[in-house]
Symmetry: none
Subunit: 221 residues, 2 copies
Amino acid sequence: MKEFEKLSERQRNILFFMDHYMTEHGFPPTIRDIGAATGIDSTSVVNYNLNKLVDAGFLERVASKSRGLRLIKAIPNGRNVMVKSTDSLLRVPHVGTIVAGHPVNVEPEVDHANAVEVPQQWLSGVDPKDVFALTVHGDSMIDAMIADGDLVILRKTTTARNGDMVAVWLDERNETTLKYFYDEGSRIRLQPANPTMGPIFVDYRHCQVQGKVLSVMRRLK
Amino acid sequence: MKEFEKLSERQRNILFFMDHYMTEHGFPPTIRDIGAATGIDSTSVVNYNLNKLVDAGFLERVASKSRGLRLIKAIPNGRNVMVKSTDSLLRVPHVGTIVAGHPVNVEPEVDHANAVEVPQQWLSGVDPKDVFALTVHGDSMIDAMIADGDLVILRKTTTARNGDMVAVWLDERNETTLKYFYDEGSRIRLQPANPTMGPIFVDYRHCQVQGKVLSVMRRLK
DNA sequence: TTTGACAATGAACTTATGTTTGGGTTACAA
DNA sequence: TTGTAACCCAAACATAAGTTCATTGTCAAA
């Protein structure tokens, strides 16, 4: 990594030590820890080099917080534990399939065996408690750019904001569908994700939001 | 998890907050942080409960060190279980965007800063070394059921088997596209993922496979 | 040689943060 | 009642740990 080579030896040592210390302890070292490990006996020098590393994009610092350090770039031969531990996998219950003609059951029997692992970053910071997953069955969601077999991650909710992609139950049409949601006052506009297709309009009384779509994941064979 | 249920509500909240704070900041919270987040306004009470959590085997503490905390057990989260996993999450280099009219550069400068984290299960057992990610720009892949902003995970390859979804460079059309690949001997048939659309046929000499699509991930706002 | 940017120093300083103390409440058993 | 255990509280305390500053060394450009 070219960028890495441009750092001073001290700075590289600091990064190595950071990485090592994190794996060892689960939290970042102090300035004095770093100094002791890299042979720098002035905290200000460590501080100076830490700021250099921030400038170079290798670190993040939170001012005036003890151990307010974070590795944000992989380093050669590093274990990158920091980077990885910032993003945990979440086991999201897989509660079934979504098929046109059937409402989605959003109060599922908890079945941990049927769980999907999702990187937390794909949940947009939503409380994991409210998250569930569905597999789309059939081609009924094609106008939402969602194919047969796709996994849809949703947040359980009964309300939506304009622009959200939601799973809605349309009792007039007797189907569940995934569309972008727009409240136009007198009616709800449901816009397909595929821009070549037109919207449908429904009365809000016939439009029950079941969940907000957070992400869609498709696994090819 | 039975052990978890035996904890007091405060103690469970502390664990939830710890977990949340760690993912958010990359380092553990202070006693006062925990207190503020869980409605405990005495540091000694937080301290008391932290020690209880150590006894129960959920935490490790390092005495007299600031933020000397470490979660050592997965926490059930209502019906979701957090998995602190380092090896089932892979960092895949994100090498750019795929846009109609431009070939994909599959020999990228590896920049670990621009990496996406993907659960290993979504890589279908492919050697992680060969995996890279692209963001799709524009609506040119709509016939492949892939929308603007989608993240596509690919395996670097120049060959494909029938039925694979591949990224191909079509020099006659001067574009890169994602299609299902079928070698029909005399020609290559490229089938859009959207079953309502028809295939295109090209000579194999004008069809350069750049990668096989492993999965597609879409993150909604 | 002078200049200036960069790097290093160590001590003083400030504040962030863990620990202790002395005292409370509640529930329950003896 | 008394005692005890588990839990909770506020404030005082001690120290862990980040920041600042005046000064010095290094080295290349002017």
